[in-house]
Structures are given as C-alpha cells and as structure tokens.
Amino acid sequence: MSWRENASSNMARRHLLSNLFRLFCGALTWLGIVLLVILLAQIIWQGGSRISWDFLTRFSSSKAAKAGIYHALTGTIWLIAMTAAFAIPVGVAAAVYLEEYSKKGRLSTLIEINISNLAGVPSIVYGLLGVAVFKYFFNFGQSLLTGSLTMSLLILPVIITAAREALKAVPSSLRQAAFGLGATRWQVVRYHVLPAAVPGILTGIILSLSRAIGESAPLLVVGAATSLNFTPSNAMDEYSALPIQIYHWAGDSRLEFRELAASGIIVLLAVLLLMNATAIIIRWKSEAKTS
C-alpha cells in the first residue's frame, strides 16, 4: 500500500495549522500597535494641554504653571549634536577599516564579537565609565563634553555594527569594477562603496542617536542638571536634557508636575520624529541618486 492514500487526510489539519499561525502572528502584531496607541493617547491626554509656546521657551520653575522645558530641549539638542559629531566619524571610520582594509582573521573576528557584545552592555555601565574617565580623569566635570563623550561610547558599537552591515551589502562586483579601472582603495571606498552604503549607514546612525536621545541613566550618573535657568553656550557648560527633566518631573508627588512630564515626553517624541523624518528624506535622496 502506498503512503499516498493517507496523505490527503492530512490536508485539513495542515491548512488549519497554517491559518492558526497566521492569526497568531497577526494578533501579536496588532497587540503591539494597540498598546503603543493606548500609551501615546494617554500621554497626549495628560500632557497635551500644557504644550504651548511658553512651555517650549521657559526654564524650569518650582511652580508648575510657570515651568518650561527650554533648558532641557536646548541641552538635548547640544548633546545629540555633539554626540553625533564624535560618534559618526569614529564609527564609520572603524567600520570602513574593519570591512575594507583589515585582513579577515582571528583578530578581526575577535574584534567583531567584542563590538557586538559592547552593543549589549547596559547604559549605566557606560555612565560609570564616563564618570571615571571623562569627569575625573580628564577633568571635564559635569559638562556637555563629558555627557556627549559618554553617549558616543554608548552608541559607537551600534553605529559600527550597522555601518559594517551596510558596507557588507555593497556588491563586490562594484568594488571589482572600480579596482579594474586602476582605482586605489581610497578611491573605491570614497566614490563607490560609501555612497552605496549611505542609506544603511544612516539608518544605523539614526537608530543609535534615537537611542541616545532617550537615555537617562548614563546622564544621571555623569551628572546632568535638572533645574537650570540658562542654556549651554559651549562644550564645557553644565546642561540638562529632556529625559532627565522628564524623570525629575515624573518623580514629583504633585499631579501638575506629572502632567508636565507627559508634556516633556511629547516634546521628546516630536524631536525624535523630526530626526527620523530627516533621515528618511536623506535616505530617499541618496537612494534616488544611486539607482
């Protein structure tokens, strides 16, 4: 007797399983979306009413009605700009070196594993490192420089890993074509490999900067201020940041301040969306150019 005879009896069960799995995956997707929407709705409900021009342009205050977020917003912009200025060149250069120049061997594998591991180290550990190295050893104090260098360390592994993946995805035929025309390694990287990898590298940069913008733990450790009545004017100034201010307000026992925390979250999300939108536009432009 052939096994074909009882094969058909299986069909109904197999289709059922297939459909159940589809439902399962769909349900989980919607669960995530619904939770996110509820969360957002609650925050907008709580904090939306306090969002105003005054809120964006005032410094912190002990009276909720007069409190603003100007110091934290400017602090965050400074912090992210400086972090990007440190981390992007270093991260991309490291990725280019590892991917385009270094010989593949035991050492490069070791470095690769360690970079991936560093990406998973809790941020508070980076905060402690920042305190020891930048705050005390280099004596940068509780400055923007300390904060942004610490943040740079935190996001470097993510940038390096993402940039390496992007470089790896550039087809080797492109490199060979350029080498075949008598190009040096630098010319190949500068004119062909990097432009082709820009969209992927940008994604990595934005993801990591988005992580940095919401980080509060390392900043608490290296000492970002909460209630400031000035904005930083150079890298050695004290600073505040959005997540620090939000954390401070959220811990207050008074309801008005907890509402302020929600307003702060809305501002933080808006900054984040703005950054991502910029990245998407740059990606579109660079993709349109290369294809």
Binding site: K103, K104, P171, S173, L174, R175, Q176, A177, A178, F179, G180, L181, G182, A183, T184, Q187, Y191, H192, A196, T290, S291
Partner: protein, 289 residues
C-alpha cells in the same frame, strides 16, 4: 618602481607608439577574420611556470602560456578548471581574495607583475577587465566611462574621450541621446558594452574578459563578438569562455584547461580541427565537459 609604460621598440630603438596592426609576410592580416594568421605577433603577456593556490588547494598547476599582442586568446575548459583564476592573476585581481598565493612568473612586457616593486593599481591601468556579469556603476552612462580616466588624472577633453570610447564599444548610437541617464536603464547587453567602453576609456593595452557573454542573450552575445573583432586591431584580448563555438569563432589562439592544468595551447583552428591531445578532442567535440 618598475616602469610599465615602456612601449615596444623597433630595431633602431625608436618607440613604436602608433598601434598599427602587425604585418606578417607582407600582408595586412587583421582585416581578415581568419584568426590563426596573427600568431606571429610578439608576446605581451606570459605565464612562466605559474601555480596558483587557494590556501592548500592548487587551482593552477605549473602553467606556461604566451599571449600574443593584438590577438584574441581564448581560455576554455570545464567549470572549476581555474580559467578565471588565471585570468584574474594577469591584472592582480586575485589580490583581493584572502589566502591566494601565486608562484612562478607572470610577465607583462617582460616585467614580472608579481614583483613587489610593481604597483597593482598602476598595472590595472594597462590591463583592463570586463567581468562576467555586467557591473556598471550606479551612475550615469557618461560618468561610467569618465570615472576611470578622471581618477587617473586625465587632462583632456573628457567629452571627446567618452564619445570615442562609446563608439569603439559600438554603443554610441544607442546612448548618445541619453548620456546622463542611469546606466541601469540599459539592457544587459548594452550594459556589458558600456563596461567594455569603460575599460577602453583607460586606453589599456590588454583587456581581460571573464565570460563576458555568459549573462547575455545570443543576439547581444553576437554583437559583443563582432565588437571583439574590431577591438583586436588595437588591443590584446584574453577571454575566458564557456562557449566553445564562441572560442572557435573569435579567437586566434586557444588554451584548454582541465583541473588547473594546461592541456593544450595553440592556434584556434588547429586546436579545434586537429587537436594534439585526446582530452582536447573529447572536449571540443562535446564528448566530455
């Protein structure tokens, strides 16, 4: 630094700069399509006792091969016989593969290109390459051709150079009205001719072609074969091909490889009609491979 620029000199030591086709027995033979006639041309590329290893595995075994100037030399053989490996070693494209080791001598105009004094980047300006799959840059047609000369310090009329190169590659008429369109807007065959134009713009002496027609349809392939005949007037071409009819049609000399060994090397006509080795005969008649 070893000078790769040296042009062939005649008896009086005068540099022969015009690339006139060689005259054999008082007759200009390049206009004919009988390939066997050109093999008296001087050697431009030579492999002397060349072995190539990938780690422990030996891909090319003690190969002796002379490529004659302004001839088409075809390299044929079954898959994995080391054809491409040998071809890529002529302009040091194997440098990019970790663990490749070359022993013996690879001579380009009597300079050993494996010599540490030879700059591979410089070498590749003289020995160009066309790859199996068309690989134009994700840029405009114009920029594809102009990029190589530009990075190598070309000072002249770039528009003219691009036009000449595209004309030489027999694609000018198809692209002259859309030079600034993306190279990806071209068909596969057009892309491959663009890649040939890109290589020609460097004014190389030798062009290495690694199965340039294997990703193309028969009509596009035929156009490229026609083109090769024309290019033979000015350039030396070494072509790896899977297609034996193609080798028979276009080449002056053919080298037949099996398992990294050069089984037979000689005039194409002779190799296909009166092969000396049994293995060659089996292969070209389709009994094996």
């Amino acid at each position: 630094m070893i000078n790769l620029e040296s042009k062939p000199k005649d008896q009086n030591g005068i540099v022969n700069t015009d690339k006139a086709p060689p005259i054999v027995a008082g007759k200009n033979l390049t206009s004919e399509k009988t390939p066997a006639a050109k093999t008296k041309a001087p050697t431009i590329l030579e492999a002397r006792d060349v072995s190539i290893y990938y780690g422990e595995k030996q891909a090319i075994k003690n190969v002796q091969l002379k490529v004659a100037e302004r001839c088409i030399t075809a390299i044929i053989g079954p898959s994995g016989c080391g054809k491409s490996t040998l071809l890529r070693s002529f302009n040091r494209m194997n440098d990019f593969i970790d663990g490749v080791r070359v022993t013996g001598q690879l001579l380009f105009r009597n300079t050993n290109i494996m010599d540490p004094g030879v700059d591979a980047v410089e070498l590749r300006r003289h020995i160009g390459m066309v790859f199996q799959k068309p690989n134009p840059f994700p840029k405009s047609i114009f920029k594809n051709v102009a990029w190589g000369p530009k990075i190598n310090g070309f000072r002249g009329d770039i528009n003219e150079l691009v036009e000449t190169s595209l004309k030489q590659a027999a694609i000018w008429d198809e692209v002259k009205d859309r030079l600034h369109d993306s190279a990806f807007s071209l068909s596969g065959g057009q892309q491959q001719r663009l890649c040939i134009a890109r290589a020609l713009a460097m004014d190389p002496e030798v062009i290495l072609m690694d199965e340039p027609c294997s990703a193309l349809d028969p009509v596009s392939s035929a156009r490229i074969e026609d083109l090769l005949f024309e290019l033979r007037e000015k350039y030396t071409i070494v072509i790896v091909t899977h297609n034996m009819q193609q080798a028979a049609r276009i080449s002056d000399e053919t080298a037949f490889f099996v398992n990294g060994e050069l089984i037979e090397f000689g005039e194409t006509q002779q190799l296909f009609t009166r092969p000396k080795e049994q293995q060659t005969e089996d292969y070209v008649t389709g009994r094996f491979g």
